[in-house]
C-alpha cells in the first residue's frame, strides 16, 4: 500500500479510528470506561501493546509465515505472539516498575483478548503495510482507541448526574453515545483513504 507512515499514523487516529469506524475492542471499551483513571490506564496499555505487537507480528509474518508458506495459520500465530508478549510485559513491569504494574496490572491480561490488537495485525497483512507503516498504524490505532475510551469515560462521568431512562442505563446509553461519536468520526473518513 502506497501511503506515507506519517499520514497513516494520523489517519489511524482520526479518519479510520479502529474503535469508532471498525468497532473493534468494544468489550473492554464498554466495561472499563466507567472511570477516567482506569480508562487512561487501559488506554496506555493498549497503545503500548498494540504498537509493539504489530511490529512483532509483522516480523513473524514476513520472516516466518511467508517463507514457510503457512500464512493460513496467521490467526493462531498472531494470537500466540500477542499473548506471550503481554505475559512477558507483565513480568517485566512487575519486576522493574512496581508502581506502573499496580496501575496497569489488572488491565494487562484484558489486553490479550482485546480484538483491536488482533484486528490491527490482520489489517496490516491485508493492506500489505511495510514495517514502518505497520508500526505507525499500530501506534495510531492505539492512540485512537485511547482517545475513544477517554471520550466515552468523560461523557459517562457527566452522565452520572443526568437522568437516563432505566432501560438504557449502563451499556445501552454507552452504545448510543458510541454510535453518535462514530458518526462524527466517519465525517472525516473521506480525507484520507486507507482501505
Amino acid at each position: 500500500m502506497d501511503i506515507s507512515s506519517f499520514v497513516l499514523f494520523w489517519a489511524a487516529i482520526f479518519t479510520s479510528n479502529i474503535l469508532l469506524t471498525n468497532f473493534l475492542g468494544m468489550c473492554s471499551y464498554l466495561s472499563v470506561s466507567r472511570e477516567m483513571e482506569s480508562s487512561f490506564g487501559l488506554g496506555i496499555s493498549v497503545l503500548f501493546v498494540l504498537t509493539v505487537t504489530t511490529g512483532l507480528n509483522w516480523l513473524v509474518y514476513r520472516y516466518i509465515l511467508v517463507p514457510f508458506d503457512i500464512v493460513y495459520l496467521q490467526y493462531i500465530v498472531f494470537i500466540i505472539v500477542i499473548a506471550a508478549f503481554v505475559q512477558l510485559l507483565e513480568l517485566v513491569i512487575e519486576r522493574y516498575a512496581p508502581a506502573l504494574y499496580y496501575t496497569l496490572g489488572i488491565f494487562l491480561p484484558l489486553i490479550t483478548v482485546n480484538c483491536a490488537i488482533f484486528g490491527v495485525s490482520l489489517f496490516m497483512v491485508i493492506r500489505n503495510y511495510n514495517f514502518l507503516q505497520s508500526i505507525a498504524f499500530g501506534a495510531g490505532s492505539g492512540i485512537g482507541w485511547m482517545l475513544a475510551i477517554l471520550m466515552l469515560a468523560a461523557i459517562r462521568r457527566k452522565l452520572k448526574e443526568k437522568l437516563v431512562p432505566t432501560g438504557l442505563q449502563g451499556v445501552g446509553i454507552s452504545l448510543i453515545i458510541t454510535g453518535i461519536m462514530a458518526l462524527a468520526f466517519v465525517g472525516f473518513s473521506g480525507i484520507v483513504q486507507v482501505q
Binding site: V60, I64, F68, I70, L73, I76, V77, I80, V81, A84, Q87, L88, L91, V92, E94, R95, P98, A99, Y102, G105, I106
Partner: protein, 368 residues
C-alpha cells in the same frame, strides 16, 4: 500432502515452543525474588521464598491470619499492618478498607500483598495461637430441620486453647460438581474447657458450597481440617450486666460463653434473647431454660416473629428490640453480645444505642 501438513505443524509448534521457552526463562529470571524475611511485630522473623502473597507465605510458616474467602480478596478478614516493604495500596484492596484504614496508610489485605522484598508487619499476638487442627467427625445431630450440631474430635495430641465466643475456619472437601475447597468461618459452640474436641452449629444455606457439604455429604468418621481460633468476639471479664442477642445459628458462641460461665460461676445479671421465626426454628430450648436454675440471675427469652395461632406460642412475639427497654437496668453498666445476620445485628445495635448502651460495650459477630 502429508509432508506439508507435518511441516506446517512443525513450524507452528516451533513458534509455540520457542515463545514458551522465552517465557519460562524470563519467568525464572524475572519472578525470582530470592529469599525474603518477614519481620513480625519486631519479635519473630520468618524467611520465605518471595513472589507469593503475604497470606500464603505466612500460612506456610504455620501463622494463620483469618481469611474467610481463601485469599480471593473478597472478605477482608486478613487485614494486617504492613509497616514496610508492602508496596503501594492496590485497587483490589480499596473496596474492603474503610476511609480511616486507608488514611492510616499501612492497613493491607495480606492476601493481596505480594512479598517481593523484606517485609515488616504487625499482627495481634493472639494470631500466634492460631494453628491447623486435624479432626474426625464424632457426631452429627439435627437440631432443627436446617441446623446441625457437629462434633469434631481432634487427632491424638492436638489441643485447642480458645476464648468462649471465638470461631474456627472449616475447610470443605470437593464433592459432586464442586471441585474447589472453600474455607468458611463458624463459631465454636462447645466450652473452652473441652480442648481435645469442639462443636459447631451450622445452618444449611441453599446453594452454599460449604453448608451443602456439611449438611448433605459429611458423615461421622470423616476427616476434616480446621484452623483457629479467631476473632475478638468473646466475653469481657467485668461485672457488668449482659444482654445476649442471637438468631439462627448465632446461638453457637453464646452457648459456648454460657457453658463456660457455668464452669467458672458468675453472679452477673444476664438476659438472652433468641430471635426465630416459628417454633420449629427453636432448638436447645430446654438446655438454655435449665441454665436459669444454674445462674443466680439469668433469663432465656425466645422471641418468635412469625408464630401462627396453631403453634399455641405463649412466649414473646415480634422482634427482640422492643423488649430491651424493660430488661436494661443500668445502660451504662451493661454489655451486649450479638451474633446473627448483618441485618439483625444492625437493627439490634441501633436499638441498644437508643436504650443508652455505650457503643464500645456492644460486641458482635456478624455472618457477613
Amino acid at each position: 500432502m502429508l509432508l506439508m501438513i507435518l511441516k506446517d505443524v512443525a513450524v507452528l509448534s516451533a513458534i509455540g515452543v520457542s515463545l514458551a521457552t522465552v517465557m519460562v526463562i524470563a519467568g525464572r529470571w524475572l519472578s525470582n525474588y530470592g529469599e525474603c524475611k518477614i519481620d513480625i511485630n519486631g519479635k519473630r522473623e520468618v524467611t520465605i521464598t518471595g513472589g507469593t502473597s503475604l497470606l500464603s507465605s505466612l500460612s506456610d510458616k504455620q501463622i494463620f491470619l483469618p481469611s474467610a474467602c481463601g485469599g480471593r480478596g473478597s472478605c477482608g478478614a486478613c487485614k494486617c499492618k504492613v509497616i514496610s516493604g508492602g508496596g503501594p495500596l492496590l485497587p483490589t484492596e480499596k473496596p474492603l478498607l474503610s476511609k480511616e484504614e486507608i488514611a492510616e496508610g499501612n492497613i493491607r489485605l495480606a492476601c493481596q500483598v505480594k512479598v517481593k522484598s523484606d517485609v515488616k508487619i504487625e499482627i495481634p499476638s493472639s494470631i500466634f495461637n492460631i494453628r491447623r487442627f486435624h479432626a474426625t467427625i464424632a457426631e452429627i445431630i439435627d437440631l432443627t430441620y436446617d441446623i446441625k450440631e457437629i462434633t469434631f474430635k481432634f487427632a491424638e495430641g492436638e489441643k485447642i486453647d480458645f476464648l468462649a465466643g471465638q470461631y474456627v475456619q472449616l475447610e470443605s472437601e470437593p464433592y459432586n460438581k464442586v471441585k474447589e475447597r472453600v474455607t468458611r468461618a463458624y463459631s465454636i459452640s462447645s466450652k473452652p474447657e473441652i480442648n481435645d474436641a469442639l462443636q459447631l452449629i451450622i445452618r444449611y444455606v441453599p446453594e452454599g458450597i460449604c453448608t451443602t457439604w456439611v449438611h448433605k455429604h459429611l458423615k461421622v468418621g470423616d476427616k476434616v481440617s480446621l484452623t483457629g481460633p479467631y476473632g475478638d468476639f468473646y466475653l469481657r471479664d467485668t461485672q457488668a450486666d449482659i444482654i445476649f442477642v442471637a438468631g439462627g445459628s448465632g446461638k453457637a458462641p453464646i452457648k459456648s460463653i454460657l457453658e463456660h460461665l457455668q464452669v467458672t460461676g458468675t453472679s452477673r445479671r444476664m438476659t438472652y434473647f433468641f430471635g426465630a421465626r416459628t417454633p420449629k426454628d427453636l432448638y436447645l430450648t430446654e438446655e438454655m431454660k435449665a441454665l436459669e436454675q444454674v445462674f443466680s440471675e439469668f433469663k432465656y427469652e425466645p422471641v418468635l416473629s412469625a408464630a401462627k395461632p396453631e403453634d399455641k406460642w405463649t412466649g414473646k412475639t415480634g422482634y427482640v428490640m422492643p423488649y430491651f427497654a424493660e430488661t436494661i437496668r443500668d445502660p451504662k453498666n451493661t454489655e451486649a453480645y450479638l451474633c446473627g445476620s448483618p441485618g439483625m445485628i444492625n437493627a439490634v445495635q441501633k436499638a441498644l444505642i437508643e436504650n443508652g448502651i455505650p457503643t464500645d460495650k456492644i460486641y458482635y459477630d456478624s455472618f457477613g
